[in-house]
């Protein structure tokens, strides 16, 4: 393995168990992330994007969820094999996360300052006053004006966009090597979305973090990422450099996704949509999970398609490639 690979996920499997059924939320996901790069993970709701990101830091609640297999190699260590205290030293310090809903992801009972301070006190061993200084510094960095006064406010005194800025400040406090942003803009207004994305982009360069950006919005990944992994039904169905994915998509699902993005240049009467619905993960169809919705179904699709390398960096899991 080359040294410039910061994170390598191999055959990750996270299942959820309930009432006699097994939901294979993530089923054999593999990808690599190079140092300093941004990887976008795209897919519909329920495709396993968030579960993948939570599995990396082992934040899946058991029960009902369980990581049943695979490796997540970070800094030559398999995170899945670390002890609880070892993984805790990585969480927040070396791999940080930003979550989807800033309205609920901050503790409503604690001041912004207290929530920012505890992370540097824990991982950097700062004293209370040093941590406070650092917290103010971070708040200023993410563009919160009057930070030294607002640090003692509670989350409900902030707007959604401001809270997401606070989350970013918190996540970047310890200069993590990897930032996982799980739909960081989904809950925000469009104008705020752009600001938050620009902020993440700017800080990524400033701090030198690698980023995994999870989203269902292809427009967001286009301008932000180096590579894109498209997920469907708990699996990565296509992986390619961003530009290549947009110019020459291979998997029928990716093609469908790209066609679903409205194009203001053409006079579309109706938006394209992929027919059907994402499959029930507890009752997956035999063979290719996308086959019931695919317009190019062949006899082979009754078997599960292997992932096929198209060129050096482009992979697709579809029988059409054979």
């Amino acid at each position: 393995m080359s040294t410039n690979i910061i994170l390598s996920v191999r055959n990750l499997q996270t299942y959820f168990y309930g009432d006699g059924s097994v939901v294979k939320a993530v089923d054999g996901v593999s990808f690599e992330l190079k140092k300093g790069e941004t990887l976008g993970i795209v897919g519909e709701s329920g495709s396993g994007k968030s579960v993948t990101s939570l599995s990396i830091l082992r934040l899946i609640a058991y029960p009902p969820g369980k990581i049943i297999g695979g490796e997540v190699v970070f800094d030559n260590k398999d995170l899945m094999k670390l002890s609880e205290s070892e993984i805790r030293r990585i969480r927040g310090k070396r791999i940080a996360m930003i979550f989807q809903d800033p309205m609920t992801s901050l503790n409503p009972f604690m001041t912004i300052g207290a929530q920012l301070k505890e992370i540097t006190e824990l991982h950097e061993g700062l004293s209370s006053s040093q941590a406070r200084k650092k917290a103010i510094e971070m708040l200023e960095l993410v563009g919160i004006s009057d930070a030294s006064r607002r640090i003692d406010d509670y989350p409900h005194q902030f707007s959604g966009g401001m809270r997401q800025r606070v989350m970013i400040a918190m996540a970047l406090s310890c200069k993590p090597e990897l930032l996982i942003a799980d739909e960081p803009t989904t809950a925000l207004d469009v104008t705020i979305q752009a600001q938050i994305l620009e902020l993440i982009k700017g800080l990524k360069e400033k701090i030198g973090t690698s980023v995994i950006l999870i989203t269902h919005d292809l427009g967001i990944v286009a301008g932000m990422t180096d590579h894109i992994a498209v997920m469907y039904a708990g699996k990565i169905v296509e992986y390619a450099p961003t530009e290549e994915l947009f110019s020459t998509p291979h998997h029928p699902y990716t093609k469908g996704l790209l066609k679903s993005v409205p194009d203001p240049m053409t006079d579309q009467k109706q938006l394209f949509q992929i027919p059907g619905l994402p499959p029930d993960l507890s009752r997956l169809p035999k063979g290719c999970p996308f086959s019931p919705r695919c317009s190019n179904v062949k006899a082979e699709c009754q078997e599960f398609p292997p992932i096929k390398q198209i060129n050096a960096n482009h992979y697709s899991a579809c029988w059409l490639e054979n």
Partner: protein, 305 residues
């Protein structure tokens, strides 16, 4: 905050007025009168006694007089214990009830909250099922069964504690345990459900993602939100632990408020019954005010203007 307190205290007045009126007329509706007990007094004596306590006047005059006396802070005389006022009786028995009630309250809070937290952290484990089964048992078993059971085990079999004594701290243990059992159970269940709800919250996931240890996550991040349903419950609970101790006082022969209340009700000691009811009502209203203040302190999103 001060405004809230003043407003709530003013709001007490109509509530208490209704309580006073209701108890005044309800106790008069009960058959019998203060002097129609087992001993048959001569007619002249009863008339003289009625006159002495002002019970010979028309009912609306008596009511008016009672309100006037209350306004002066005077709860009236006891008709059973000549020469004693209700104020004196409360002052005399309150410390006993206070000691017993507060110890029971401490048991209920400490044990209830700890059991609830442990249960919520080990949801659906055998430990969780066991403690919730015991809690169900605690809610279901009446104190007149639990009290004697504890006496049989700890006093009459193990000889650790005296069965019915009053005066030393160790005499408090069995009655306080009997009294608090149901509250331990309730608080455990409330804590468990409150914690389970909070532990599923997004901000708990955030706290874990920061690398905080499980104990910091639970105690610093989850407990504050999870405990709020418990706080709402503990206000009324404390009131009943202080004043609703009738059965336990009877079992363990404790000279508290509950016993004088029962005696007064049995002997139609009008002023004592009314005075105690009023006292407990005031206590309950104040406890609820305290609960609101504590919740306001716990939850920054609530602001009292």
């Amino acid at each position: 905050m001060l405004k809230l307190i003043i407003r709530r205290l003013l709001g007490m007045i109509p509530v208490l007025f209704i309580i006073i009126t209701l108890t005044f007329f309800l106790i008069r509706l009960a058959p019998g009168n203060p002097f129609a007990n087992d001993k048959a007094f001569p007619e002249e004596v009863i008339q003289a006694l009625n006159k002495q306590y002002g019970l010979d006047k028309p009912l609306h005059i008596q009511y008016f007089n009672y309100i006037t006396e209350l306004a002066k802070g005077n709860l009236g005389p006891s008709t059973r214990y000549a020469g004693k006022t209700v104020n004196e009786m409360i002052a005399e028995h309150l410390p006993t009830s206070l000691a017993l009630g507060l110890i029971a309250y401490g048991f209920a809070l400490i044990l209830g909250v700890s059991i609830g937290i442990i249960s919520s952290l080990r949801q659906n484990s055998s430990l969780d099922y066991l403690s919730m089964a015991i809690a169900m048992f605690g809610i279901s078993i009446p104190s007149f069964v639990l009290g004697p059971l504890l006496v049989i085990v700890f006093s009459l079999t193990l000889f650790w504690l005296p069965p019915a004594r009053w005066g030393e701290p160790k005499h408090l243990i069995l009655p306080a345990l009997t009294l608090s059992a149901i509250y331990i159970a309730y608080i455990a269940r409330l804590t468990r459900s409150g914690m389970l709800e909070v532990l599923r919250a997004d901000y708990i996931r955030t706290a874990r993602a920061k690398g905080l240890t499980e104990s910091v996550v639970v105690l610093r991040h989850a407990l504050r939100g999870g405990i709020i349903p418990v706080v709402s419950f503990t206000g009324p609970a404390l009131t009943f632990l202080l004043a609703g101790t009738i059965v336990v006082e009877k079992i363990f022969v404790i000279p508290g408020l509950g016993r004088i209340f029962i005696e007064a009700a049995n002997s139609r000691d009008y002023f004592v019954v009314m005075g105690l009811t009023l006292f407990v009502s005031i206590l309950l209203v104040i406890m609820n005010l305290l609960v609101d203040i504590v919740i306001g302190l716990l939850d920054p999103r609530i602001s009292y203007k």
